[in-house]
Amino acid sequence: MFPLRRFRVEDDSMRPALEPGDYVLVNRWAYKFRPPAKGDLVVVRDPETPDRFLVKRVSDASDAGEIRVVGDNSNRSRDSRSFGPIDHLEIIGKVWIRLR
């Protein structure tokens, strides 16, 4: 499995870190050797619609393999505040670089 995968960002819940139209390169191996940490930008599978992806920031990483994610632009974001914690298996990877 090639570690890098690119995504195009849509919508504005991650403003100003990510703008709609940006690309992000995601490292799918980032969490092979270390757990997600608070503050990481991650792409996750949408727990409510599994065939779509969300890009969010980790707000809390517990030992139990669950993380909470929120959007930076919190009043424009649907995230763990509505769908709760997500399993680490739902994480696609960590955002490595942003292309604008």
Partner: protein, 173 residues
């Protein structure tokens, strides 16, 4: 605009990048069962007012009949409107807020929604206090489930409105 950005955009022509939504959708996440309860109260109140209205007897004057008709028409119009509001608010909670996992915890939800919609229609069609009460009860029961999914206990108290019917309120910490 960086070179890598242009490369990524060019790659989109060969194989489009999947989209990572930073989204809102807009499920704005803002729901509250209070709208439905409030509208149900209005329906109950309109039925009460209609029932309290003195019907013009055979000796009534045209003016009295006109006043009666005017009041009746206004109460009925409001009853029509608010039973529809209650039904619509219940539909929004049901379709947009409640999720399958809520149904696992509260398997009675579908039936409650169905009861709310049916009694809402009946309260709209008829001057039927029981139907209005049933509508209010169903919205209260749905409110109780809603607040539980949000992690709040509820209390049932007499509403501070002229209807004075029992109403479910969240116990905010």
């Amino acid at each position: 605009m960086s070179l890598l950005y242009l490369l990524a955009r060019w790659l989109d022509r060969i194989s489009p990048a999947p989209i990572a939504y930073a989204h809102c959708d807009i499920p704005c996440g803002i729901y509250d069962p209070h709208h439905a309860q409030l509208a149900a109260h209005t329906v109950v109140r309109m039925v009460d007012l209609i029932n309290q209205l003195e019907k013009p007897g055979s000796s009534s004057t045209p003016d009295q009949r006109q006043e009666y008709t005017n009041k009746l028409a206004r109460y009925i119009a409001t009853k029509e409107q608010h039973s529809e509001i209650a039904k619509n608010e219940v539909r929004i909670l049901w379709g947009d807020y409640f999720k399958p996992e809520h149904l696992k915890t509260f398997p009675e939800l579908h039936d409650l929604v169905w009861k709310a919609l049916k009694s809402g229609s009946k309260a709209r069609q008829e001057i039927n206090l029981q139907a209005a009460e049933d509508l209010l009860k169903a919205t209260n029961d749905i409110a109780s489930i809603y607040w539980k999914t949000k992690g709040f206990e509820t209390i049932t108290a007499k509403a501070p409105y002229p209807t004075e019917r029992l109403t479910v309120y969240p116990k905010f910490k």
